[in-house]
């Protein structure tokens, strides 16, 4: 390298001065996150528990990410990134996952996270005494079923060769298992504390996330403060306060008065913010990877006839339902939501065409229509409106649908039991960004059970089942894409569902909130938000 001459030095110095001087045209406001401040959030009801093994509500997920972390996470989009794993690899055949834990990742009480903590946390999910809804996701691990049935003291597929190495062996290759490790169920917990507190752990929540619980008054307030031992770069605000109670209108009033930073909007508030030019920019529409659908029980008359099912698809005016539900959603043409992201150009179209519907019914032997029961969940007001809309549309084609509003608990039990419910309104939000989460979980005929069945249409097409199995075992993204697309097309031709809409969640933000971009999987990431006063 040549020695620097005095002339060059002068130019370098001048350049440095010029570069360092603030440009008068640039704005004073910075776009880089600032640390500090308290984030004020709200939730109408308290969660039963924020314990990662128990909590399964979609709206508890962003809160959980403040307190708990695991091996993997989703990055800016749906790509998987290593979170508290420094390095990870999958064996060539896809059965063995090896993780090197990041040194310096600590729990809120100061201890470094160890591989044994992960083993403990996963076994806790598989332990029937915990009653975790996440059990099924971990049954792919070798030895998990035996542990779950009480035949083994530990899960043989979980091993910790040393303090910072974790090895997970599956029964057979399963591509989506990596996504399971990014779910909140797979967050790590400090084993000695969980053992000490037992079922009282929910009052002493400690995780390895950027924050820890400093106060919880049940049904009143949560307060989170910084985890002093957290080594990650996210978590910008100093504290998070979550008020419990009130309704959407109250929250909107509080937000406008500066008492809250973020709140979910009800239909009335969404319309009001939309109409007011000063407020419009504080309304955010978050696309969710969700599909709301009308399922048709293929094992019960008259929905055992594909022509009747296709008629139902033609009879419904989905645009109108979206307006009835407050205009927060996009029309669904397929099973898997586009927000996943997902596209399927070969999908057969099915337009609103009452004449075609009536023709199909005549062909199927129902020239005068038929009578049926339309089940839906009582406590979801949008569903009530949509059901009323569907009832009206069906009347046009001669189908008399009696509305049957049911409580959530009762609905869940009945629609998942065989030959109980002819048709009903439900929705599914993705657990992870893979089409199998919709097609395999909800429409695989091989997974049908007499009770607790996730395939409410009890749809069974061997062609579809075969493709889903193949895709589940494959590690090749292109092959999987092709198989899922073919499966979805076959399903739409058979029409066990009428997919209605993909929900959008309207959210209100305060003027001082930044970093609140929506996230395709987590909906939003509170740990990325910061306050600009």
């Amino acid at each position: 390298m040549k020695p620097i001459t005095p002339a060059v030095k002068t130019w370098l110095l001048l350049g440095a001065l010029l570069a360092g001087r603030p440009c008068p045209l640039a704005s004073a406001k910075s776009d880089s996150p600032r640390r500090g401040g308290t984030l004020h959030l709200v939730h109408p009801t308290d969660w039963r528990s924020l314990d990662p093994a128990i909590a399964f509500d979609a709206d508890a997920a962003p809160i959980q990410k403040l307190l708990f972390r695991g091996l993997l996470n989703f990055g800016e989009g749906i790509e998987l990134v290593a979170d508290q794993a420094a390095d990870w690899s999958v064996s060539p055949e896809g059965r063995i996952y090896t993780f090197q834990l990041r040194p310096g990742a600590c729990f809120a009480h100061g201890r470094e996270v160890e591989a044994e903590d992960y083993i403990f946390s996963f076994e806790r999910i598989l332990d029937p005494k915990t009653g975790s809804p996440g059990q099924t996701y971990f049954l792919d691990i070798l030895g998990a079923e035996q542990f779950n049935r009480g035949q083994a003291a530990h899960v043989s597929g979980l091993r910790a060769p040393d303090r910072r190495t974790l090895v997970i062996e599956l029964k057979q290759p399963r591509f989506v298992f990596r996504y399971v490790l990014a779910m909140n169920f797979a967050n790590v917990l400090p084993r000695e504390l969980v053992r000490r507190y037992g079922s009282d752990f929910q009052y002493h929540l400690i995780g390895s996330g950027p924050y820890c619980v400093s106060e919880w008054r049940r049904n009143i307030r949560w307060r989170f403060e910084r985890n002093p031992y957290y080594s990650g770069s996210d978590g910008f605000v100093d504290a998070v306060e979550i008020m419990i109670g009130g309704d959407a209108m109250l929250h909107a009033m509080m937000l406008e008065r500066g008492e809250l930073d973020r709140a979910l909007a009800g239909p009335a508030e969404a319309v009001r913010f939309q109409r007011d030019p000063r407020l419009r920019r504080f309304l955010q529409r978050v696309d969710t990877a969700n599909t709301d659908y009308l399922f048709l029980n293929t094992e019960m008359k008259p929905f055992d006839d594909v022509r009747v099912r296709r008629a139902m698809n033609h009879a419904l005016d989905k645009e109108r339902y979206i307006r009835l539900a407050g205009s927060f959603g996009t029309v669904a043409h397929g099973i898997v939501p586009p927000a996943m992201p997902w596209s399927n150009p070969g999908l057969p179209a099915c337009d609103h065409d009452p004449a075609a519907a009536r023709a199909l019914l005549r062909e199927a032997g129902y020239p005068d229509g038929f009578k049926t029961e339309l089940w839906f969940i009582l406590s979801r007001p949008a569903d009530a409106r949509i059901a009323a809309g569907i009832q009206q549309d069906l009347r046009e084609i001669g189908v008399k649908a009696d509305l049957k509003p049911v409580s959530y608990a009762a609905f869940e039990v009945k629609v998942r039991s065989r030959r109980e419910v002819p048709c009903g309104l439900w929705g599914w939000m993705e657990d992870y960004p893979d089409p199998s989460n919709f097609l395999d979980v909800l429409l695989n005929g091989d997974r049908i059970t007499d009770a607790d069945c996730n395939n409410q249409a009890f749809y069974n097409n061997p062609n579809v089942n075969a493709r889903l199995e193949q895709a589940g075992a494959s590690n090749d993204p292109d092959e999987r894409l092709r198989l899922f697309r073919e499966a979805e097309s076959l399903v739409m031709r058979d029409a066990p569902w009428v997919p209605i809409l993909h929900e959008q969640i309207p959210v209100l933000n305060s003027p001082r909130l930044r970093g609140n971009r929506p996230h395709p999987v987590w909906l939003w990431r509170l740990e990325q938000m910061w306050i600009d006063d």
């Binding site: 309704d247 209108m249 239909p267 009335a268 109409r275 307006r323």
Partner: protein, 308 residues
Amino acid sequence: MFRPFFPALLANRLFRGGASIVALFALLALTAPLLTQAHLLGDPLQQDPRGLDEDGMPRSPLHAHALGTDNLGRDLLARVVHGARVSLTIGVAAMLTATVLGVTVGLLAGFYGGRLDLGLMRFTEMNMTIPAVLLAVALAGLIDGKQTFHLPLPGLEWHALDLQLKRGMVSLFLVIGFVCWPGMVRVIRAQVLSLKEREFVQAARALGASDARLILRHVLPNMLPTVIVLAAMNTANTILLEAGLGYLGIGVPPPAPTWGSMVSDGQPYFVAAPHVVIVPGMAIVLTVLAFNLLGQGLQEVFDPPRDR
């Protein structure tokens, strides 16, 4: 017996004001279904898509609908008038329940005195320690939640000018009546105590009249003015309580219009369309005020205070 009071009543401003509002609401309540059938009044249950604007928000008053529409596009005027049926029926039924209970307890306590009196008054005191609203919420909510009275009790379906007893109304007015009776007891008992010592009662007793005869022929009829005043003011309370329960979502289920549930249904739209909350609220205020004025007027005439 009341005839001498009539001119005084009609001259009393409070009584006139209260009675006219009550009469108006009662008339509207009784004739509401007829008015709807004759298309003079809208249909309280009809969800009209034209009742909502293009964003799905309720329409303001003084355009197509006199009082505007609610969150589902239903005509508010029709709902308020039909709501009067529910509120007045429950209010009056609850008041009758409370009066029967209160008069019975007060009468027995005052007339027989002694240990019965002590016991009954202690019992009343215990009932008064429990806040009425809280007890009503607890009982009515439990009855609702456990779905005890699914349908109107057989034999209790009655029609008076098409005033049908709806599901939930029976348990509601029984509960409200039940929490309101202790308030009347003290006054009733005091009245009975003073009447007991009056000459005509002593005379009848001397002539060998039985207790029952004394109570029914002599004491009760002379208590009537007090009871009527208490009844009027109690109706104000029962209507207020029914509105409160309806506001919390307890009581007559949707889509039946009740003023309280109309206020709570309208709340989410309050900022954007305040009339959805203000209109049913005003209905409650006017009706309750009317009964309070009625009661105060009656009190001034029947039992004038020594000072204005």
